[in-house]
């Protein structure tokens, strides 16, 4: 019997625990609890095994532990989880293994490195104590810098997350924060704050107890960050992501390019061979077995039109834009003629050049407005 072709995907592992909820966040997370975490890790492992069983030829070239706060996991649980994954023999060589963390104690980073995690992402957000306080982060600026210093001893590939557009934030704050973190990092994610109505800050903003900076100020701060990062060799490859040389996030790239990703854990999302599915977001329901195998049956198969839009929406976020030829081939269309009127309307904002359709660098912040134009 001919051996089936090997399939490659990214593996996302969701750790939904947080010590406390940041005020801007409305993602699913729960209070950390040792006993619960223990059971949860077992559930993750069994879900992982069932994925492997179902797809005998599936291999992973990236693993991403996200959350929540993966750094809350004890060394024992983390090594149990990663041990199981390594032992499955499903990881490709040179697999990128990332973990998200809050600024943590020194031994955590050492433990991560010992567990063969090779990419570290630290949620710094800002290096202004008043801002960190305002958004409900559990650390201060000094602790954040210390964490970066220690992490640097064990990791080469470090990302720091920062947020742009926090109330009271100034350009100076952005400049200081970037100046202090760039020496320790190879990758910086600069997210523009977008509050959902349900987050604590969103609620306050809605009833005018908190005033968000104007779009102009946010754009100014973003452009300042862009300039400063470029000057120091951090190139933007996605609207919010900047990296030195080729230190881009291989895992996240899969999302933007619509490649296969399997998500395990509560509230995790997967996109596999054109099918999207997600797990129960409630941890208890997830652990009761509403996981991969059962949800795969209740899948959402987007039609071609939807998939095309998703590809456009995500691809427009990339500095390199959309690969028009590959889209044409994949969807059997002629992108340029199908969207000719939209493309015409967007002249001066987004342009086609050398096989790629991309938003002009200076207009990148109009990403959503541009994407909407492609929605019928």
């Amino acid at each position: 019997m001919e051996r089936e072709r090997e399939q490659i995907a990214g593996l996302y592992i969701h750790i939904p625990f947080c010590r406390s909820k940041c005020y801007y966040c409305d993602f699913y997370s729960i209070q950390y609890d040792d006993a619960l975490a223990d059971k949860y890790i077992d559930a993750l492992i069994s879900e992982f095994f069932s994925v492997c069983e179902q797809f005998q030829n599936l291999y992973f070239d990236t693993v991403y532990l996200g959350g929540g706060t993966p750094s809350l996991l004890s060394h024992r649980l983390l090594s149990k989880l990663l041990g199981a994954i390594f032992n499955s023999n499903r990881l490709k060589e040179n697999c990128e293994i990332s973990i998200e963390s809050n600024p943590a104690k020194g031994e955590f980073y050492k433990q991560c490195a010992d567990l063969k995690i090779n990419r570290l992402s630290i949620g710094i957000q800002s290096l202004s104590d008043s801002i960190l306080n305002l958004i409900g982060r559990g650390h201060n600026a000094r602790e954040a810098i210390q964490a970066l210093e220690i992490a640097g001893k064990y990791f080469d590939n470090i990302n720091a997350d920062i947020i742009i557009g926090i109330p009271s934030q100034t350009k100076l704050d952005i400049e200081n924060t970037l100046g202090l973190i760039m020496p320790f990092t190879k990758h910086i994610s600069a997210y523009i704050l977008k509050l959902s109505d349900e987050s604590p800050m969103g609620k306050k903003a809605r009833c005018s107890q908190m005033h968000l900076p104007s779009d102009d100020l946010v754009a100014d701060m973003y452009e300042l960050a862009y300039d400063k990062l470029s000057m120091y060799g951090f190139n933007r490859y996605e609207i919010s992501n900047f990296s030195v040389a080729n230190y881009f996030s291989r895992h996240n790239m899969k999302y933007w390019a619509c490649w296969n990703t399997i998500g395990i854990g509560a509230a995790a999302h997967s996109f596999f061979n054109g099918v999207r599915f997600s797990n129960a977001s409630d941890i208890n329901r997830y652990m009761l077995g509403e996981s991969f195998l059962t949800t795969y049956d209740k899948t959402l198969i987007p039609d071609k039109k939807e998939l095309l839009f998703e590809e456009i929406m995500l691809g427009l976020r990339l500095e390199s834009g959309l690969d028009v030829l590959s889209i044409n081939k994949k969807f059997g269309i002629d992108f340029l003629s199908r969207f000719s009127s939209v493309i015409d309307r967007l002249k001066g904002i987004a342009e086609y050049k050398d096989g790629r359709y991309k938003i002009l660098s200076s207009k990148m912040l109009l990403e959503s407005a541009v994407a909407v134009e492609f929605l019928d």
Binding site: Y12, H14, G66, Y191, I192, K194, S196, D215, D216, V218, A219, Y222, I239, S240, N252, Y255, W256, T261, G263, A267, A268, H269, S270, F271, R276, S278, F309, E310, M313, L314, R317, R345, L346, G348, I349, K363, L365, L366, E367, S368, A369, V370, A371, V372, L375
Partner: protein
């Protein structure tokens, strides 16, 4: 006159807004025991929510009551009337169904512009007028001065006028007694061929069009074959009845009675207000004198906010039209707003009420264009056309001149505001006609003013400059040639037809600047810079710029959850769909409304 007619009194109440007309009606209804304690409420005759909330009367509602005076039972038919200038037409209708009118004057405010206008209407209809001075309980009441005003201005003997407080129920019996003693009974011949005046009609989904009638001669009962004298249509009466104030069927209506008839009339247009109903068997020779048709004075486009609701809007308009014949509407199309209707209204209040009823009773969201008057345009080829939609104005090269409707405006005001009012009237291109002192402190000022200025913001300005003390009434006075121009609004170089206005050349600059500023504030930033210009022909007279949008970034797509982002984008798309497109520019509905009220 039959004996029974001697004991009937048909009357209405005329008054300025807020002088207590509806409250007095409530007291009379109470005193005559027409409505049980359980059914009692304020403004009993005002059945629409809008009437109650705004404290105004729009429709005329009749009510029949019994009153014992010197041991004889009298039948009173009271027909409530609107007090606002827009509804003068409706007032004249109720007057024609009565022999008498109570003139209610506020003891603290005296005669106001609309009081006078309605009194003149009543006098024209040969009604006996009974002055009643209300609100005598107010500390500021000055009954002697008001009595003198009534005598000086109207020329009515007010020495016996009942001094009442409708609110407190003081001296209501005086009013009732004088109705019996001073108002004449109806005089008609029960044995003559049927002649009944339709003074109102309404549509009932079960019984068809219902006519509110005043029987002048003859009798009518269920089974009578009737003939509509204006169009020759015939129907068989299924029910006759009276208002108490609910509709109650009675065996017969005779000369002098006020009531209703139902005759399975499918189309409300067959029950034309002012028409005479007669009997098919024994028709009258001549119809009664009808009414002058109400001419719309104010025009505006009404569009559904959501373009797909056009059919709903049309249905709603048709339904409203059944009970409000004064509303005119015809389909129109706008480049910016899509399909909608050009509507004619009696005045601004009428327009507001129609909008509010469409929104409340039919749950429609609307976009209304700036109100316009109807212009007479003489073209260079000699043709004269009427233009009530500025975007329909012919090109300048084809226009010889434009005439606009003008009105005679009467303003009643305390003397201290004379200066302020004259200044306002001058600003509004008014021409002074006359000024009369009513007494030492109050003045009547008469101006000729273009109607377009009145419907723009005259009324609001008058109220604010006189702290609400001045009152206004106006009547049309023909057309006048003026230097009028079409002011176009261009968005990114494209004319937005729904925003065009016809204005006097001198005010074009100010209006253009105000509109562009306002639009600039309400049009959301787009991906491109949007110039907002005001122009006369090809000449741009004002310009503002909506700066280009700089940021539109939605949630990051982490952990592969893109559904969230997709939903947000879809929502954004929906929002954009709700906006109107002019060329490349998306404009929210509010933008069209925002220019209706500009602070000068």
């Amino acid at each position: 006159m039959s004996t029974r007619q001697k004991f009937i009194r048909n009357f209405c109440i005329v008054a300025h807004i807020d002088h207590g007309k509806s409250t007095l009606a409530d007291r009379i209804i109470e005193k005559t025991g027409t409505v049980s304690e359980r059914e009692k409420r304020d403004q009993m005759l005002d059945s629409m929510d809008i009437e109650r909330e705004r404290g105004i009367t729009i429709k005329l509602t009749p009510v029949r009551m019994f009153y014992k005076y010197n041991d004889i039972e009298y039948t009173f038919n009271l027909i409530d009337t609107p007090g606002h200038v827009d509804f003068t037409y409706e007032v004249s209708r109720s007057l024609a169904a009565c022999e008498g009118a109570l003139l209610v004057v506020d003891a603290s405010q005296g005669i106001e512009a609309q009081t006078l206008a309605n009194v003149y209407l009543a006098l024209d209809s040969n009604l006996e007028i009974l002055p009643v001075i209300n609100k005598i309980d107010l500390p500021s009441a000055n009954t002697e001065a008001v009595k003198k005003e009534i005598e000086d201005i109207i020329g009515l003997d007010s020495s016996d006028a009942p001094l009442i407080s409708a609110k407190e129920g003081i001296n209501i019996d005086d009013v009732l007694a004088q109705i019996v003693e001073k108002l004449p009974p109806p005089c008609g011949n029960e044995n003559a061929p049927l002649k009944a005046l339709i003074f109102d009609s309404a549509y009932d989904i079960y019984r068809g069009a219902i006519c509110n009638i005043r029987v002048v001669d003859g009798t009518v009962n269920a089974g009578t074959r009737i003939l509509m004298m204006s169009n020759g249509k015939t129907f068989e009466v299924t029910e006759v009845g009276v208002f108490s104030p609910r509709m109650v069927a009675v065996p017969i209506l005779k000369a002098g009675d006020v009531g209703y008839i139902a005759a399975s009339i499918k189309n409300v247009k067959d029950t034309q207000v002012g028409d005479t109903i007669t009997s098919l068997q024994n028709p009258a020779l001549e119809p009664l004198q009808g009414y002058k048709k109400a001419n719309p004075m104010v025009f505006a486009g009404i569009y559904p906010s959501d373009g797909s609701k056009y059919d709903d809007l049309r249905d709603a308009m048709e339904k409203l039209n059944l009970n409000d014949a004064a509303l005119l509407f015809e389909p129109e199309t706008s480049g910016a707003l899509g399909f909608g209707f050009r509507c004619g209204f009696l005045g601004l209040l009428h327009m507001e009420i129609i909008e509010e009823r469409l929104e409340r009773e039919f749950s429609l969201e609307l976009i209304t264009t700036a109100p316009s008057v109807s212009y007479k345009v003489k073209k260079t080829n000699g043709e004269i056309i009427a233009v009530d939609n500025p975007s329909k104005l012919p090109p300048i090269s084809e226009i010889e001149h434009i005439e606009e409707p003008i009105v005679v405006a009467n303003v009643f005001t305390p003397a201290e505001y004379i200066g302020a009012i004259m200044e306002l009237c001058q600003e509004k291109r008014g021409v002074f006609v006359n000024m009369t002192y009513i007494d030492t402190t109050r003045v009547k000022i008469e101006y000729i003013i273009p109607l377009a200025e009145i419907i723009y913001d005259f009324f609001d300005a008058l109220k604010s400059r006189t702290h609400g003390y001045a009152s206004l009434d106006y009547e049309s006075s023909g057309y006048q040639k003026n230097d009028l121009v079409k002011l176009d609004i261009l968005l990114n170089g494209d004319i937005c037809d729904a925003l065009s206005l016809i204005v006097h050349r001198e005010s074009a600059y100010t209006r253009g600047r105000l509109i562009t500023e306002k639009l600039c504030a309400v049009i959301p930033r787009q991906m491109f810079e949007v110039p907002v210009q005001a122009a006369i022909g090809t000449k741009v007279i004002a310009r503002e710029t909506v700066k280009a949008m700089r940021k539109d970034v939605l949630a990051k797509c982490y952990g592969g959850d893109i559904t969230r982002k997709k939903k947000l984008l879809e929502k954004q798309k929906e929002g954009k769909k709700r906006m109107r497109q002019v060329g490349n520019v998306s404009i929210p509905s509010e933008a069209f409304m925002s220019i209706l009220k500009l602070d000068t």
